[in-house]
């Protein structure tokens, strides 16, 4: 956990960033899977301490955007700047230093089943830092405390509930005291109470640690609760970037559709299911070729 008036005055951050500058800046991002274009000219700016929620239907490109934001995928065109560093051009040493400042809790980022909770959470520390084992253990236990998993050190992932697993993943994502935190569908598959507790945790972390966060979710309630601003993706394009009130006010039918998503979602799932059964790839622009879990 970090503590300072502004995260951006840390010596490890590139000098180019001043407190008024965005910590994430995306310009003209284009992304493809093979010949299929999934992101079109995406521009995005996130300010220090801001929680930016990314919403959109299944297959709209949310996860792809997130993968580009953290440098897991290289854009076909455009630039992605984190903490003043253009990660599409950064050298590996620069990327390594940057990665220490980034926490990622993705859907695929499950805990290692062969390690207990404490070892899972300490993993990034072992990769990035040279610390005494005792220091690392205390750091990990502090994070468990923060995510309300105190005492779960010795449990194996298989012994945790869905909500506990997410919390443990959050603990691991924040073990290095990141400046930037990225979540992909943190509350997917959780019941409403557990999911709401996760929202509280996200807000608590921002409050105490001054983190900037990008949270992908398609839980409307959650988005409205945690977001400073919401980016709505539709078939790989940005439809709207606005605060909660602005999104609610929007009379764009596609956004209204998203807000009254239930009926639409059922339809989307049916199509995705059909495609899964037939093994057919959709014809672009595709909004509906994913399994519900992976959306």
């Amino acid at each position: 956990m970090t503590a300072q008036a502004s995260q951006l005055t840390s010596a490890q951050e590139p000098a180019a960033v001043s407190p008024a500058a965005p910590v994430i800046r995306v310009e003209g991002l284009q992304a493809f899977y093979g010949a299929q274009q999934v992101l079109f000219d995406v521009d995005l700016t996130v300010m220090p301490g801001e929680i930016m929620v990314v919403m959109g239907g299944s297959g709209s490109g949310k996860s792809t955007l997130l993968r580009h934001l953290v440098g897991l995928s290289r854009p076909a065109a455009g630039r992605v700047e984190l903490l003043g560093l253009d990660i599409t051009r950064a050298r590996s040493m620069e990327m390594l230093a940057l990665r220490r400042k980034i926490g990622v809790a993705f859907q695929g980022g499950a805990l290692f089943s062969s390690m207990n909770v404490l070892d899972n959470i300490m993993l990034p520390l072992r990769e990035h830092a040279r610390l005494d084992r005792k220091t690392m253990e205390i750091m990990a236990r502090l994070k468990l405390e923060v995510v309300n998993l105190a005492g779960a050190d010795a449990l194996m992932p298989s012994e945790l509930s869905g909500g506990m697993l997410k919390r443990a993943a959050v603990a691991r994502a924040i073990i290095m005291d990141p400046t930037l935190l990225f979540f992909d569908e943190p509350s997917a598959g959780l019941d409403p109470t557990v999911s709401s507790a996760l929202d509280d945790l996200i807000l608590k972390l921002r409050e105490a640690m001054n983190m900037t966060m990008v949270v992908v979710t398609h839980e409307l309630e959650s988005a409205f609760k945690i977001a400073d601003r919401i980016t709505i993706l539709d078939q790989g394009r940005i439809l709207l970037v606005d605060d909660v009130a602005g999104v609610r006010r929007s009379d764009n039918p596609r956004i209204q559709n998203l807000l009254n998503r239930r009926s639409e979602e059922t339809e989307v799932d049916a199509q995705a299911y059909l495609q899964r059964l037939t093994g057919e790839t959709p014809t672009p622009p595709a909004a509906t070729n994913e399994t519900p879990e992976a959306s």
Binding site: M1, A3, Q4, S10, A11, K143, A208
Partner: protein
Amino acid sequence: MTEVIRDEEGRFVVELEGEIDLERAPALRKTLLDCVRRGRDVLVDLSRVTYIDSSGIASLVEALQDAGKSETRFGLIAISPEVMRVFELARLDKVFTIHPDLGSALEAGA
């Protein structure tokens, strides 16, 4: 490492400065544990610390626990509001004795 250890009426006062991060935590840990192991009370002055990450905080926690084992006192001085928020997040404000300044720490007999 900008750290000064002073002797204040028989106790060690460790004055820290600047940013305490992953690079500095190991040295801080060593300093604190050395002080505690000499069997004296220790006060850590954080008034000039602008940033402390959780590796630094973990070092404080370990030293506090060692002090408890050797029945010496271990207190913190002048925690900034930002650091305090992080302490509260992990409820460390309930664990450490925290004094507003050196004067009140000495007055409290810490």
